[in-house]
């Protein structure tokens, strides 16, 4: 990794962390979801125990997806603002290379993905998640899922304006959480909707975390493979979109 990419990544981290929006959506909201869920469970009372969706081991996976989906917003906002304010033009005229830009944007968001996952799992432990060694691989997979959303963010940031990127990223957040199986059991719905959800990566990302947390290793490989395929494909599209945009400054 060269120095320019690291210098650029540091700048990007500072830009993200100095925005209150990042703290609210990146760290406060995932904790808020746990709090809301606890209130719901308390309201339902003893019947909540019979509903698998309310199990903290399942719900944690959903919160990981929910939190990580905001990484696409941070990344898209950063890139589209850099474009709009001609900051990107200044950088493109500098001796930085294409690799430095992509690495700089991605490297900046991945530590945030890790920090966000740590906050999510600490919150989950506070709300009853069992302390097991499975949390460690789940943390790593969370960062891996973060890469999925970072790639989506780079694509949106490269193709959309600073005005249109946030609402469309919000749509991604909604779609990701809705179609991940976080709010309702996809197996119970079944049929075409279940199939559609499993064509997209979000349900697999959710499965990856929940199977890892319970140590169901035999079930982990398929979602891991699907998420890896999506990360690779979206990263290639992201690099292509960014390079295309760079030629049209």
């Amino acid at each position: 990794m060269n120095n320019k990419a690291i210098v650029f990544a540091r700048r990007n981290i500072v830009e993200i962390l100095r925005s209150p929006v990042s703290w609210i959506f990146g760290f406060v909201m995932p904790i808020g979801i746990f709090v809301i869920m606890q209130i719901v469970i308390n309201s339902i009372g003893e019947h909540a125990g019979s509903v698998p969706m309310f199990g903290v081991d399942r719900f944690t996976g959903g919160v990981v997806i929910f939190g990580a989906s905001f990484l696409s917003l941070f990344c898209a906002l950063l890139i589209s603002n850099d474009r709009q304010q001609s900051f990107l033009a200044r950088l493109l005229a500098s001796p930085m290379r294409a690799f430095d830009y992509i690495a700089g944007y991605m490297l900046a968001v991945l530590p945030l993905a890790f920090a966000q996952a740590v906050v999510t799992f600490v919150a989950a432990l506070c709300f009853g998640l069992s302390v097991t060694v499975n949390i460690l691989p789940a943390l790593l997979f969370s960062v891996f899922i973060g890469m999925l959303f970072v790639a989506i963010g780079v694509i949106f940031g490269s193709t959309l304006s600073a005005k249109s990127a946030p609402p469309l990223c919000s749509v991604v957040v909604q779609i990701a959480t809705l179609l991940s199986g976080m709010w309702f059991d996809l197996d119970m719905i079944g049929g075409g909707f279940d199939l559609f959800c499993h064509i997209l990566p979000f349900a697999h990302a959710y499965d990856l975390i929940r199977f890892t947390l319970v140590g169901a290793w035999g079930n982990v490989w398929l979602p891991a493979l699907v998420v890896a395929a999506y990360v690779t494909a979206l990263a290639v599209v992201a690099v292509f979109a960014f390079r295309l945009r760079a030629r049209r400054v």
Binding site: S86, A89, S94
Partner: protein, 247 residues
């Protein structure tokens, strides 16, 4: 040696409805250590020409070289010799004034210590030392523009492009900036675009007038005056740009 050599540069944009030739066979050179003005009406092609010279977009035809390094085939070398202050105030809003300067210095290869020293020097030169720890996004438009120019000059480029550097600055800030630009002349060639004709006249060793993508005249103020047959510089410019004021 020429700091910049532009030979018959062409840039065409195509969309579904029409083809627009933004730069149409422009040719000129900039001497080492020269302040060179690029004047033209809005849409004349100045910004497109600067984008080509700084390696942001490739020319469709012709050749551009920076200190004899081709802007396309030796792009990385050419880019290391150049810096730009774009028309928009291109700063990182959440970074402080000092952090913005340090960041650009480091992107051009300075280590942390050297970047810090260069930032302090530039803060003094720009009279921004008191605002060093303020976030750039909180600065007024004029101060932000000053910072933007500082970011273009902090890397000690051999050729700097300043696209409308004094736009929106008050008269004192403008004079400060003129002083800064003149002080850099010894070790830096500067290409600047401006709509303030008096500024071009006062700062530039030579001026090129651009109209409809073409360079219509290049020379010193005296040469342009004699070429146009006019003595008032506004009239000189309008005549060479092929424009006229409605009575």
């Amino acid at each position: 040696m020429h700091a910049l050599n532009v030979e018959n540069a062409v840039k065409t944009y195509r969309n579904t409805k029409r083809v627009v030739t933004a730069v149409d066979g422009a040719s000129f050179f900039v001497n080492d250590g020269e302040i060179f003005g690029l004047l033209g009406m809005n849409g004349a092609g100045k910004s497109t020409l600067i984008k080509m010279c700084t390696g942001l977009i490739p020319p469709d035809g012709g050749r551009i070289s920076v200190f004899r390094h081709d802007a396309v085939t030796e792009r990385e070398i050419a880019k290391s010799l150049v810096n730009i202050s774009p028309q928009e105030t291109a700063v990182a809003p959440s970074l402080t004034v000092r952090e913005n300067l340090q960041f650009i210095a480091r992107i051009y290869g300075a280590d942390k210590l050297a970047a810090g020293r260069a930032a302090d020097e530039m803060l003094d030169g720009l009279k921004l030392a008191e605002r060093a720890n303020d976030r750039a996004g909180k600065l007024s438009g004029g101060l932000m523009r000053r910072l933007s120019i500082g970011m273009a000059l902090i890397t000690k480029p051999r050729l700097a492009f300043l696209d409308e550097p004094t736009l929106g600055l008050d008269v004192v800030a403008r004079h400060e900036l003129h002083r800064l630009i003149r002080a850099r002349k010894a070790d830096c060639s500067i290409v600047l675009t401006t709509h303030y004709l008096e500024e071009a006249k006062a700062l530039c060793d030579r001026i090129a007038v651009m109209a409809h993508g073409k360079i219509t005249a290049v020379g010193t103020v005296d040469e342009l005056e004699s070429l146009s047959g006019e003595s008032d510089f506004e009239r000189v410019f309008l005549k060479l740009a092929g424009e006229r004021l409605e009575p």
